[in-house]
């Protein structure tokens, strides 16, 4: 078989490139989700439906210490600055965009020019932002623009990246991150109402669940599937367990599993089996418990547990494919 027949040899993939691919995908997915979180938090504050204002986003990212080291009070413009502009915050969109770009820079020999150019332009855009760009009235618009840039990255990657091992690592990184982020999105809602359990089931509660669904781009699908209910259990079930919703935890796990499976079957990388095992364990946990049970036994603790398991899956991926020298 020759190239003329469409058969091409598999070219080796450096371990370093696999690692960069996973991180590139993770950072872009994380940026998109952070933009979604900022957006939904801003909505909560604007609706005055929130008990602890901008504090929730800081809490769900466990950034309180880091934030308070630099800012005296928790206030909209400062939190937005912390999460969008500040280079000293490794979790800011600026820091993550630069990190994504550094990974992409290392991958330039491998990725299509169009992927690199878009990232380069995006990073330069983020770098050009100043505090006047994040004033209260513009945050939502800015978040939309950031989200769109991340989606453009995903689209260009889907449309131009050659389908071999590198693509599969990008997929795994993206879906591990997306799974992690949906748990944080649910958690922000939990944190928003934390000191006020009586509010559960009230109008405020419902409008917040609506905002969460909207920020995950899942509101209309949810309405279509569950036209006459917006109970917390239904929304949480949708975000965690729906097989059709692209940002649900179940979908992310299935996609990551599929990519790892292809590494083993098509590229004969037996070590991928260890990654598959971790993902299957997670799927078993998710399938073995009902949403009501999750809520009763503690939503926050459950989400924490999932985040820990996703991190463990990433670590196994690293041990297998880019072991320390």
């Amino acid at each position: 078989m020759t190239p003329a027949d469409g058969r091409f040899a598999v070219t080796p993939l450096l371990s370093r490139y696999a690692e960069n691919m996973v991180w590139l995908a993770r950072y872009m997915e994380r940026i998109e989700n952070l933009a979604r979180l900022i957006d939904v938090n801003e909505t909560f504050v604007r609706l005055r439906t929130v008990v602890n204002g901008w504090r929730c986003i800081i809490d769900i990212n466990t950034d309180a210490e880091n934030y308070l080291a630099r800012h005296a009070e928790i206030e909209g413009a400062e939190v937005a600055s912390f999460y969008i502009l500040e280079r000293d915050n490794p979790n800011s969109i600026l820091s993550m965009a630069l990190a994504a770009r550094e990974n992409a820079r290392a991958l330039r020999p491998l990725i299509p020019m169009e992927m690199w150019t878009q990232l380069n332009v995006f990073t330069n855009f983020i770098r050009s932002l100043t505090s006047s760009d994040i004033s209260a009235n513009q945050i939502s618009l800015l978040c939309a623009r950031i989200k769109e840039a991340c989606q453009t990255h995903a689209g260009i990657t889907e449309g131009t990246l050659y389908r071999d091992q590198a693509w599969l690592f990008h997929q795994i990184g993206k879906h591990l991150e997306r799974g992690d982020q949906v748990t944080r999105l649910i958690d922000i809602k939990y944190q928003a109402l934390l000191p006020n359990p009586e509010a559960i089931g009230t109008e405020i509660d419902l409008s917040q669940w609506t905002a969460v669904l909207r920020s995950a781009a899942g509101y209309h699908a949810f309405r279509r599937l569950v036209p006459n209910d917006i109970s917390p259990a239904a929304v949480i079930g949708f975000l965690l367990k729906s097989r059709g919703f692209p940002r649900s935890l179940a979908t992310s796990l299935r996609q990551a599993h599929h990519a790892a499976h292809l590494l083993r079957s098509d590229y004969r990388l037996r070590g991928a089996g260890r990654v598959l095992e971790r993902i299957e364990n997670l799927q078993a946990v998710l399938n073995g418990i009902t949403t009501d049970e999750i809520i009763i036994t503690g939503l926050h603790e459950f989400l924490d547990g999932i985040q820990g398991e996703l991190a463990a899956a990433h670590n196994v991926l690293a041990e297998v494919f880019w072991p320390a020298a």
Binding site: L14, R87, R105, A106, R108, P109, N120, A325
Partner: protein, 487 residues
């Protein structure tokens, strides 16, 4: 709406003065060439505003594509594009043929010279070149003695610097035979010109430059260790923080080879492997863009973080080929340069095709005295440096600078050579609202495996400041597309 003032627009070059220098486009000392005349005619009909708009579009594109140099500070990375000028530098077909012949002759002589000094040292015994100059040279690598590189080739990639004097004669300025850079700009500049100046290129019989990557891959395959049929070729880069990283990426892509860093390679049992997701994979030819000193902390500088421990052992064992070979730096030393015409006659029995610049080797007492007395008329350069570092251009220096340099010379004469200040040719560039002349050089690239091939194109580097003779990009120089006419 305001238009350019005159009804029949003035020529783009109205008021353009080359001040007695040879100009590559407008003042060729009567050496007419139909292609160059045509380019000049077409350019003359353009306005500076039009050119400026096109230049702006090109700059944005270069920036977005990340065809940039990266300047790192503590907190951030600043990307700068290599200044790019839209007026092409054109070389007539016959001129190019002679240049190509001359450059290949030099590369052939240098390869024979390197073989000789690392084997029988006949040229030293025959007194063609002083023994001390070669054996005492810091870039002479004792470790290479008796080693036979595949095809006898040491210099796989050469980037010979050539300049023109006021009569239009080409002179070799430097043989860059370590890790010459700049070829990516040759190819990217052409792509850019095809996009922003298509009307200037129309119907011209330009020699193509796009095949460089395939040619490079071919010669790197030719020099792979014996018995390897389908060699794994990699490009070894110092990494993303290197200012030439864009070029490393470019060449790896054009060759379809993996770009590796030192940490991606490992030597085991005198064989080189790269770390992949499927384990260790053997590597056979390494196009290395790391200096000799940093290649292998076991063999050379022990503090090198960029290299691969054991790489030199694997190389000496013949299990991997390095391109260029280790120890080529002695051949592009600026004092050895003075002897290259003799080396050409000695090894090839031919007269040199290209002239060289009269060179005073300050290690010799007479030359030192001459240099000290005439420094205001000379360029003085350190012998082992490249990139325009550590040199003085006598007529452009202040008396205090000249005195300070005299002191350096007296303290370490053998580190320096001096040459007369050349009246380098100029080329027009767009500079704000006007077209003005800048000095320019030429760096063609020659690849050698079993045989030699010269890319029919070159990097033309222009000085950014008026009157400046320094064209190095590390010193702020820019570049322009070089059009070699195929007929």
């Amino acid at each position: 709406m305001a238009k350019d003032s005159s009804p029949s627009p003035a020529s783009l070059f109205e008021g353009y003065q080359t001040g007695g220098f040879y100009c590559e486009l407008t003042n060729r000392g009567g050496q007419a060439d139909p292609a160059i005349d045509l380019v000049l005619q077409r350019l003359s009909r353009m306005t500076t505003r039009d050119l400026r708009e096109r230049a702006h579009a090109a700059e944005i594109e270069l920036y977005n594509l990340g065809i940039t140099f990266t300047v790192y500070t503590e907190r951030t990375a600043i990307d700068r594009i290599l200044p790019f000028d839209l007026i092409p530098r054109v070389i007539a077909h016959a001129e190019w043929q002679r240049l190509e012949r001359g450059i290949r002759q030099r590369v052939a002589a240098l390869n024979l010279f390197l073989w000789d000094i690392y084997h029988d040292q006949k040229a030293l015994a025959d007194g063609v070149i002083p023994r001390d100059l070669v054996l005492g040279n810091p870039n002479f690598r004792q470790e290479m003695i008796g080693f036979d590189p595949p095809c006898g080739t040491y210099v796989h990639i050469a980037g010979t610097d050539v300049v023109r004097d006021e009569t239009g004669n080409f002179l070799v300025l430097e043989d860059n035979v370590r890790t010459p850079s700049g070829v990516s700009y040759v190819i990217e500049n052409r792509r850019m010109m095809r996009r922003v100046m298509p009307d200037l290129i129309d119907d011209l019989d330009l020699a193509p430059v796009e095949e460089y990557g395939m040619a490079l891959r071919r010669i790197l395959g030719e020099v792979a260790p014996e018995g390897i049929n389908d060699p794994e070729i990699v490009l070894l880069s110092p990494g993303t923080y290197n200012s030439a990283y864009f070029e490393h990426v470019f060449l790896a892509r054009e060759m379809g080879a993996t770009l590796v860093e030192g940490r991606d390679l490992v030597v085991s049992d005198d064989r080189v492997f790269m770390r992949t997701i499927a384990g260790l994979k053997p590597v056979h030819t390494i196009y290395r863009r790391i200096d000799d000193a940093f290649l292998d902390p076991e063999a050379f500088r022990p503090d090198s973080m960029l290299g691969v421990p054991g790489l030199f052992r694997a190389y000496r064992a013949g299990n991997v080929t390095l391109a260029n070979a280790v120890g080529t730096g002695v051949a592009d030393d600026k004092a050895v340069y003075a002897y290259v015409p003799r080396l050409i006659r000695y090894y090839l029995g031919e007269d040199p095709v290209l002239d060289t610049i009269e060179t005073h080797i300050c290690a010799e007492p007479e030359a030192l005295a001459y240099t000290l007395d005439n420094i205001e008329n000379l360029v003085v350069k350190p012998v082992g440096e490249s990139g325009g570092y550590g040199m003085i251009i006598g007529p452009h220096a202040t008396p205090a600078e000249r005195e300070a340099f005299r002191e350096k010379l007296r303290n370490d004469p053998s580190n320096y050579i001096s040459q007369p200040v050349l009246k380098l040719s100029t080329t027009p560039i767009l500079c704000g609202d006007t077209i003005s002349p800048r000095h320019v050089d030429l760096r063609p690239f020659t690849l050698t495996g079993e045989s030699s091939w010269t890319l029919p194109g070159a990097l033309s580097r222009v000085a950014i400041r008026a009157g400046s003779l320094v064209v190095n990009s590390s010193q702020g120089g820019g570049s322009k597309d070089t059009w070699v006419m195929a007929s």
